[in-house]
């Protein structure tokens, strides 16, 4: 069936709630308001206020109560309205959820899903951040960033059924994207599996979340010029599946990592390091990155455009790698 990304998330939530009565939702304005991005629209009417719970504006309490409810035998899916508002909850997630299973020697675990969303436009510095990488830094958390309706659906179901705390980061800019979704309530996309979204022999583009869309668009434009780019969607940032990335780079020898966020210490930095460690001999040029300008996001339309990574930036770097063929050889 064909669903939007938003509908795919909603459908996964509904089906998991029907399947398992321990699953419930809580978050700010998820019920009466219908969800700030309308993802949970209709769920209150369907499941009632016990299972679709509007919370106060208390991110720390929402996340912490999620942890407690998970310890207590439930399967909470909590919503943090935007990843920009998650920082009061970061303590609960980083010092709480991430530590509990290991630190208490596996005596209990935290089957918690925290759904949130990155992206957004013209919202300025406090509301435009992609902060998932902060959480990907933390052993004990799993971080999932779907970039298609099918992945949103299958990954969310897998996250809800997973015994560990999962930060599930949707993309506001993808909510209206349409795509095929398997008509199977048990369709799961396992956490920790990267996926080749497009095959190509000349160049590898690695991306996550909305960056995948930018990479696919760049690949499309490169194809028009006879360059076949392979696009690898990381899908899960932690645990990170480097398999398809390594396989692809061993084939193409060239790689551009497409980020939708700041570069320093980011996802691209991690991928580049892993490539240097594990596929150095396959590289025919430097590992290049595309990312946002390292500034708090400005509101003005022209500055925002400049600050955001663009398809053109990917093309330019690809061209650099391809033109410089041989010249980049360091061996």
């Amino acid at each position: 069936m064909e669903l939007t990304y938003r509908e795919a998330v909603r459908r996964a939530l509904m089906e998991e709630m029907e399947r398992d009565e321990r699953v419930f939702i809580m978050g700010e304005d998820v019920g009466a308001y219908g969800g700030s991005y309308a993802v949970t629209k209709g769920l209150l009417a369907r499941f009632g206020p016990e299972r679709v719970r509007d919370t106060p504006i208390s991110e720390a309490a929402i996340a912490g109560a999620g942890i407690g409810a998970a310890l207590g035998g439930l399967r909470p899916v909590v919503e943090i309205m935007s990843i920009n508002f998650i920082l009061p909850a970061a303590d609960q997630l980083i010092n709480g959820a991430a530590k509990i299973h290991y630190m208490f020697n596996g005596q209990f675990h935290v089957p918690l899903v925290v759904r949130t969303v990155n992206g957004g436009r013209r919202l300025a510095a406090t509301h435009s951040q992609n902060l998932e990488v902060l959480f990907a830094f933390i052993p004990g958390l799993k971080v999932v960033t779907p970039a298609s309706p099918a992945d949103a659906y299958g990954l969310l179901k897998a996250a809800i059924r997973d015994p560990d705390p999962v930060l599930f980061v949707e993309s506001a800019l993808l909510y209206s994207m349409k795509g095929p979704v398997p008509d199977d309530p048990d369709f799961l996309v396992p956490l920790g599996q990267s996926l080749v979204r497009r095959e190509g022999r000349d160049l590898t583009l690695v991306a996550h979340s909305r960056g995948v869309v930018v990479a696919l668009e760049a690949a499309e434009r490169l194809a028009a010029q006879g360059v076949e780019a392979e696009v690898v969607d990381l899908r899960t940032l932690r645990p990170l599946d480097m398999g398809p990335v390594l396989a692809s780079v061993r084939k193409t020898g060239r790689v551009v990592i497409v980020g939708d966020d700041w570069q320093s210490y980011g996802v691209g930095a991690e991928i580049a390091a892993r490539l240097a460690e594990e596929a150095f001999e396959a590289l025919r040029g430097p590992v290049l990155r595309v990312g946002g300008a390292e500034v708090p996001m400005p509101y003005a339309a022209n500055l925002e455009r400049l600050a955001l990574p663009q398809v053109d930036g990917v093309i330019r770097r690809a061209a650099r790698l391809l033109e410089g063929d041989g010249a980049w050889l360091v061996r």
Binding site: E28, D29, A32, Y33, G34, S36, D54, T55, P56, I57, S58, E59, A60, A61, N84, F85, L87, P88, G120, R121, R122, L123, A124, A125, T126, H127, Q263, S264, G291, G292, A293, E294, V295, P296, P298, Y299, A300, A301, N302, L303, L306, A307
Partner: protein, 370 residues
């Protein structure tokens, strides 16, 4: 641990008393004791804010303003009355529903509108947008868009005044929803304990986004939350301008005298949705209508006329002036240029950096900033 000097800790199990006494808000003055020009000016300011936001809403639907736009129609008496009670050297800090507050503080309407348009002449240079107005020259320390984030900052501004022994106060404005954040509770406790000169002005418009207060807290008389921290607290009618002004003025006097913070809960209502994107499924038309009867501008106009301190013509003239001010603001915003692209990396840090960051990195040029 033993109790030191001045500690209220009892060394016996008798339940004692703690908390506060001694402060109540001043009642509103008699209209006839106020200079009529001043009253007319308050009215005019409220109309400027009302028109300003109506025109901003229009510009938003035309795509000339982006992102989120939070309007405060219905809350004008709080902005104008509250700010009328401050001295120029006092501080102001507020949340993202900040247009009216900025205008009432005296920020230039054209520059505020230019900020909404994302233009170079905006009060934040076009970088902040509607949610992040600021005006250093007026000691307006910003609209802050993470709920609750600015309450501890307000305490810190007040700490600076206390530390430097300056008789200044901080007016900190926030919504009912913000009182459920951890930052709110931590800030109130700190301000109370250190007797910091902050006026916490809670605009209780009964909703945090689509969540009615009674669905988010048991203590819906929010002033009791202030009292819980030992802060003199009161509930006032936020639709009555002079009541607001009198309450904030008496709170400021208290804080200025070094007696510590005051908490004011002002009852009000926003006639529009939370933001322009709000489907408003959570409230009824009847409720909205009932609150329309309390429209702070109409109410004030009616009182002025009934007291015979202004004429209907004077009000009409003020209406026209307000419209002119806002039209001029729109015109100013429209002709203001976009920010210079070369400034994208300016001001990430105040100090120039010793080493340049890699491609795309901020270079720390803060020199263009005031």
């Amino acid at each position: 641990m033993g109790g030191g000097e001045g500690m209220a800790q009892a060394n016996n199990p008798e339940p004692g008393r703690d908390g506060w006494t001694g402060w109540t808000p001043d009642p509103p003055p008699d209209l006839r004791d106020e200079p009529p020009e001043r009253l007319l000016e308050y009215y005019r300011q409220m109309q400027v804010i009302r028109h300003f936001e109506e025109r901003a809403a229009q510009a938003y639907t035309q795509g000339r303003i982006g992102g989120f736009l939070h309007l405060a129609n219905g809350e004008e008496a709080l902005a104008v009355g509250g700010l009328a009670a401050l001295e120029p050297e006092d501080d102001l800090i507020t949340h993202y529903r900040d247009h009216g507050v900025a205008l009432a503080r005296g920020s230039d309407p054209g520059r505020v509108m230019a900020e909404l348009f994302g233009r170079a002449d905006g009060v934040s240079g076009g970088r902040g947008g509607s949610m992040h107005l600021a005006d250093a020259g007026r000691r307006f320390w910003g609209g802050h868009a993470i709920v609750g984030i600015h309450l501890p900052i307000a305490a810190g501004l007040a700490l600076a005044h206390q530390y430097r022994k300056e008789p200044r106060v901080v007016l900190c404005i926030f919504g009912d929803g913000a009182t459920n954040t951890g930052a709110f509770h931590e800030a109130l406790n700190l301000a109370a304990t250190w007797e910091l000169p902050v006026i916490f002005l809670c605009q209780n418009n009964l909703y945090g986004m689509g969540t009615a207060i009674e669905r988010a807290m048991r203590v819906t008389e929010l002033h009791r939350r202030g009292a819980a921290y030992g802060i003199p607290s009161a509930r006032i009618n936020g639709m009555r301008l002079l009541e607001v002004r009198a309450a904030v003025a008496s709170a400021a006097r208290w804080a200025r005298e070094g007696k510590g913070p005051v908490f004011l809960e002002a009852l009000t209502y926003r006639y529009r949705g939370h933001s322009m994107a709000d489907p408003e499924l959570y409230r009824t038309k009847e409720e909205l209508k009932a609150w329309r009867a309390w429209d702070p501008i109409q109410l004030f106009a009616q009182e002025l006329l009934e007291a015979g301190v202004v004429t209907p013509e004077a009000l009409r003239r003020a209406d026209q002036e307000a419209e002119q001010v806002v039209e001029a603001a729109i015109a100013f915003a429209e002709q203001s240029p976009e920010p210079d692209p070369a400034t994208l990396h300016h001001g990430v840090y105040r100090a120039p950096l010793a080493a340049a960051l890699p491609a795309g990195g901020g270079n720390g040029v803060g020199a263009h900033l005031p």
